[in-house]
């Protein structure tokens, strides 16, 4: 129980910190700016794969809301996308599955692509104007390219907060 609580708190903090950092002024070319919130989602995706029970839905919602507030986007836009992505990832990451990076990477690329398509659709509906899709696709591509590095880094935090017997079996769910 203590491990679960510790894991949940640390992982929630990681998700919220990633959302905050994604809104920082990194000075990226505008074609790649869409990658930043997708990288915040990458943290959610990675944690769902490693410890799905420790990702709380309200935290995912707040993470999206944080991005919306900081980037001055439509309120609820990124919350909606993060929640949809969370739902898709939960379907792809079944419990007791082997924790291979390639699997996680493929899953993330697929979900990021789906999120991008939905973002384009929702954005176009919201602004009643066809939003340029290509910059969003570039952003998704960049996020997918960075994902393995991010996943390896998150792996370190996973090792630090995983119950020893869970680590041996390779799953917490």
């Amino acid at each position: 129980m203590l491990y679960w609580l510790l894991g949940t708190v640390v992982r929630s903090f990681l998700i919220l910190a990633a959302s905050l950092i994604s809104a920082m002024p990194w000075g990226l070319p505008v074609e790649f700016v869409f990658a930043l919130p997708l990288l915040a989602f990458a943290v959610i995706h990675d944690i769902v794969w490693r410890a799905r029970d420790q990702v709380l839905i309200p935290v995912v919602f707040v993470a999206g809301l944080l991005v919306d507030i900081l980037v001055n986007g439509p309120l609820g836009f990124w919350s909606f996308l993060f929640l949809l992505g969370y739902g898709m990832t939960r379907q792809l990451a079944k419990p007791n599955q082997p924790q291979q990076l390639l699997r996680r990477w493929t899953s993330y690329s697929l979900v990021a692509l789906a999120i991008t398509a939905i973002a384009w659709l929702v954005g176009s509906l919201y602004f009643l104007k066809l939003v340029a899709f290509l910059p969003m696709l570039f952003g998704a591509g960049l996020a997918a390219a960075i994902y393995p590095i991010l996943s390896l880094l998150l792996g370190l935090s996973h090792i630090a907060i995983t119950k020893p017997e869970d680590e041996l079996t390779g799953s917490e769910a």
């Binding site: 000075g27 700016v33 939003v131 340029a132």
Partner: protein
């Protein structure tokens, strides 16, 4: 009958714990998805509640965002240092030439300003509005497929008000659309919702610079028969009294069916920006304030030049690096 009692579909039989948990998660997910969609609708309607909540939450987040932007500052600094290291010699040569050219322009501009002050006195003209300014740092980047904005760490406490013009060392960046106590939101001139009254070319043809979420905003509402040429300067007209006149915006880049403008600044790449305190309420007052004043002394003009917003932005950037 026995078979039915064993089955999970039978009345009274509870689903296994994992399935129950999954259903609960699914239900919760649907509730939050609905909540997000509802927020989007309220946001689209520009509901007062959404606006107020956004401003209050941003206010609360400012100290945290200020600290969180430290890695981004480090990233900017390292990138700046690397760029300057590689371009050092070329940049030095370019700056020497530019400095020489600007010195001539500076003395010419000072002379002209003195002349204008003298003519204004002769004509009993109205005084210039005081353009105070305050410089701040961008702490959150709001550029994305749908919007071009940023959060700066200066707000009402620093005298920033909604509608104020924002400039960086290269020229006009955008205007303030939302102000809190300690932070303000800048809407870049490239944003879809940005409309800036401008003058184009030597003849000062009136137009509206319309943002389109690309790096090249468009010129709209040009009078018929006034097609600007490529390379024509674009600067703020000050019409409407919202923004000061004469702020450099960019140059006409593409002439034809759609006339695009290449801004002098790269919104979002600037690290420090200055907010001009241009009080539109003073406009009416100034019209009646026709008291004859002596032109400023030459040394005052020099001092004004030395403390211009652009100069301050450069100094802040140097301090930041």
């Amino acid at each position: 009958m026995t078979v039915l009692l064993d089955d999970n579909f039978a009345r009274g039989a509870a689903p296994p714990p994992r399935e129950r948990k999954s259903r609960l998660t699914g239900g919760l997910l649907l509730i939050f998805l609905f909540l997000s969609a509802a927020l989007m609708v309220l946001s689209r309607l520009d509901h007062e509640l959404v606006r107020k909540t956004r401003t209050s939450v941003t206010e609360l987040l400012v100290p945290m965002v200020n600290h969180a932007s430290t890695p981004a500052n480090g990233f900017h600094r390292v990138r700046g240092q690397l760029t300057s290291y590689f371009d050092l010699f070329v940049e030095l040569e370019r700056l020497k030439q530019e400095n020489q050219r600007l010195r001539q322009w500076e003395s010419r501009a000072m002379h002209l300003e003195y002349q204008v002050a003298e003519y204004r006195q002769l004509l009993n003209g109205v005084k210039d509005f005081n353009r105070g300014f305050v410089t701040g740092r961008m702490i959150a980047d709001g550029r994305g497929p749908f919007m071009r904005s940023a959060l700066v760490n200066i707000g009402r406490d620093n005298g920033v008000s909604s509608g104020s013009a924002v400039v960086d060392r290269d020229g006009f960046v955008g205007r303030i659309v939302d102000v809190g106590e300690k932070a303000a939101r800048v809407l870049f001139l490239t944003d879809l919702n940005s409309r800036i009254p401008v003058l184009v070319g030597k003849n000062g043809v009136r137009s509206i610079l319309v943002g389109n979420n690309s790096d090249r905003p468009e010129l709209n509402f040009l009078p018929s028969g006034n097609t600007p040429k490529v390379g024509d300067a674009v600067y703020t007209s000050g019409h409407g009294g919202l923004l000061p006149a004469g702020l450099r915006v960019g140059i006409v880049e593409q002439s034809g069916t759609s006339i695009r403008v290449q801004p002098h600044t790269q919104p979002g790449k600037a690290h420090f920006v200055s907010v001009l305190k241009f009080d539109t309420l003073n406009l009416g007052q100034a019209r009646f304030d026709t008291k004859v004043r002596r032109p400023r002394a030459r040394r005052d003009i020099v001092r004004a030049w030395q403390t211009s917003p652009a100069q301050s932005v450069v100094e802040e950037a140097k301090r930041g690096e």
